[in-house]
Assembly symmetry: C2
Homo-oligomer: 415 residues x 2
């Protein structure tokens, strides 16, 4: 089964918002064995919507459409769906009741006609109720292609997908088993690893695909396969992974089934019943915010201080001002102090600290742009490490986050 | 001038990464008057790349391609470009020298043949040097359409765009003037505002387009126009904005030329020479990390505590345990305490505090999921406000961030 995702909205084409929906939908479809062939973003333009629908219908078994379902005039998806399917809009009472209820419970403003129009749906469409919003999902089938239209608000779309669309697609059946395994490596570049793997890669069976996913400081190797025989697929991929370990064991730091490094770290902390706190300077709270994005993080995450200003390192963490004076605020000694003091203040098992100069301007220290120190405090040890993270602010911050989590992961694995 | 953006990479189609490049590129193109017609994401597949190129060529004056330029076997963009343009790869000495230099300076691992292959470029291509990486940009012209191929690593692509591609497109000339103004509103829903604006909207001149951009707690109204006469465009949009103010002045909270709320807040702090700190519980450091993403934020942002665990509110902020005991950790009183104590501890002019239950599980308090208290401490005042932010974790956190920044913005405007 092959899918096309269409995202409708001027705001995407002028770059006012980042389309995060498509990646999420692609991941969910992939999990159940639906192959996403293409993702298309187009504006709220009738002719363009119609031509995208026609192209998508031709190349896919299922077309997932998001966006353009708001009550205002610039939202024309529903009207254009009607035109495409040669259909008319009819009032759906269940949706209307739901909209009325939402207004009573949450909006508290009087409903206007426009809101009632949210209950108009194409006659041929099967309505999928949207618990979190006024625009319903719509499921249409024609010429053997399924069209599903959903609102663009991420959590509304996600709930519709999770509760209704995905289960319905699964029921259609005939889905192959799709299997990915992703190996995390650190310490060598993509090309060095690829050279070491060349012979192995050349001998990979045709049904297994290898991808290199370099990101800052790490390279992930993803093996993918699909087919009807689940056991065969899983075992043959596992066999290749085993070979991989014998060739590049020195750079493999772990495996994650498409979970991120931060997921892996949180899971390790949970498994080992340990806690962490962070003291962040150049990463500005991003490590904390990544960790707290994971539901259930409160079991393992105690808290964080973002000590952006030098003085706040003293005020909040009791970093010894003499150490800052002697070694400067971007130094191994300060990273160690921050980690140690954060661990004590938060009463956590582990603490991560970052201090550095991410650029573009010089900041409170003489350290050149890209200089970063990461401090790690464990129940057994405390140390600081020096890194040069390159010359670009985004890269410096992202590399620092990855490196800090990687260091913590290593400590946790050995714990 | 019309553009198509093509993003190449299996990792996008299986949802392993979110494509943030396209939005950024679209925004930059838009600024210089290039209309982005479509954004297409496809996999690393020869046939699909070729058909996407053909479609894009047909519908655009310029095609911007990212991804698939890595040194490993799964990256086939360069080879496929050669096939599409009926071209061959030749060694570019300047690129080779650059790759060698990057390896010496940053990688410190020995170069392998694969890295040298990064210096192979299509004969017809004009090379655009990539300061931050080994894959060069490539500029090709054929049949009146320009193709630009760039690496998918965001900051490499951004540097290429900013330093070379955008200036070159501008030089081609003949670009219309594109103008957007975005009005921020708060307090009423999209449909209520649309009803109030109906008559005005119906009378909008054809060259001005209106879009409603609802996000959590706010609705932005974007007016867009394009044309050759800059003064005419700017004045006619300004005239409509003026009318807008007379109709819905009560809900307008500000204007931003597509800058975000956090940008506006940081700018206000800079303008007024004031500082802020945050004490975050349910927002987990996200307010701090948003603020510190803005270059120059160190002038106005002192720091943050993320006090996720109840005990850490006491340890880090000296929140009075008796107050937590009496009112519970999710309460107006604790929000006030957190803001007040954060302001004192960080010695900042303002402090924002958040405490709430974002769900999905209950956490350290009895408050139902969605309950949030925001505390604001200013040089003149300290107060806490209660909100019900809905029943979805993402929504609760995002709404809380927006509301907190909005409250701070209001205080700053009045300061």
């Amino acid at each position: 089964m092959q899918a096309t995702i269409i995202t409708i909205g001027d705001e995407i084409l002028i770059g006012q918002i980042v389309d995060t929906n498509s990646a999420w939908m692609a991941r969910e479809l992939n999990k159940i064995g639906v192959h996403v062939y293409e993702i298309i973003s187009i504006s709220d333009d009738r002719a363009h919507i119609l031509s995208a629908f026609a192209k998508a219908e031709q190349q896919s078994d299922i077309v997932l459409v998001t966006g353009g379902l708001g009550p205002t005039k610039d939202d024309i998806t529903k009207k254009t769906i009607c035109e495409y399917f040669n259909d008319t809009l009819v009032l759906n009472q269940e949706v209307l009741d739901h909209v009325v209820r939402l207004f009573k419970e949450y909006v508290k403003a009087p409903m206007v006609d426009m809101n009632k129009d949210q209950a108009l749906v194409p006659k041929k469409a099967q309505v999928i109720m949207n618990e979190y919003g006024t625009a319903p999902g719509m499921w249409l089938e024609e010429n053997e292609t399924i069209f599903v239209s959903m609102p663009g608000v991420p959590f509304e779309m996600k709930a519709l997908m999770r509760d209704s669309v995905i289960p319905r697609i699964e029921k259609i059946g005939n889905l192959p088993f799709i299997h990915h395994r992703t190996i995390l490596t650190a310490g060598q570049g993509e090309s060095t690893i690829a050279t070491r793997l060349e012979e192995w890669e050349n001998n990979l069976p045709a049904h297994i695909k290898l991808a290199y996913l370099p990101s800052l400081g790490t390279v992930r190797l993803r093996l993918s396969s699909r087919g009807v025989d689940k056991d065969f697929i899983v075992n043959s991929v596992a066999g290749q992974i085993q070979e991989l370990y014998t060739i590049i064991e020195d750079v493999i730091v772990g495996e994650s089934n498409d979970e991120s490094l931060v997921h892996a770290v949180v899971q390790l902390l949970k498994d080992k019943n340990l806690t962490v706190a962070t003291a962040e300077s150049c990463t500005g709270g991003k490590i904390a915010s990544l960790i707290t994005e994971i539901p259930g993080a409160s079991q393992v995450f105690i808290g964080s201080t973002v000590t952006y200003a030098t003085q706040s390192k003293i005020d909040m963490l009791n970093v010894d001002p003499a150490i800052i004076e002697k070694y400067s605020v971007v130094s191994e000694q300060v990273a160690i102090e921050m980690a140690m003091k954060a661990r004590l203040k938060f009463k956590s098992d582990f603490a991560i600290a970052t201090t550095g100069n991410a650029g573009p301007t010089q900041g409170d220290s003489d350290a050149p742009v890209g200089t970063v120190y990461i401090g790690i405090a464990t129940p057994l040890n405390v140390y600081g490490l020096h890194f040069m993270m390159g010359n670009h602010r985004e890269r410096v911050v992202q590399k620092t986050i990855n490196k800090a989590l990687e260091l913590l992961q290593k400590e946790l694995i050995e714990m």
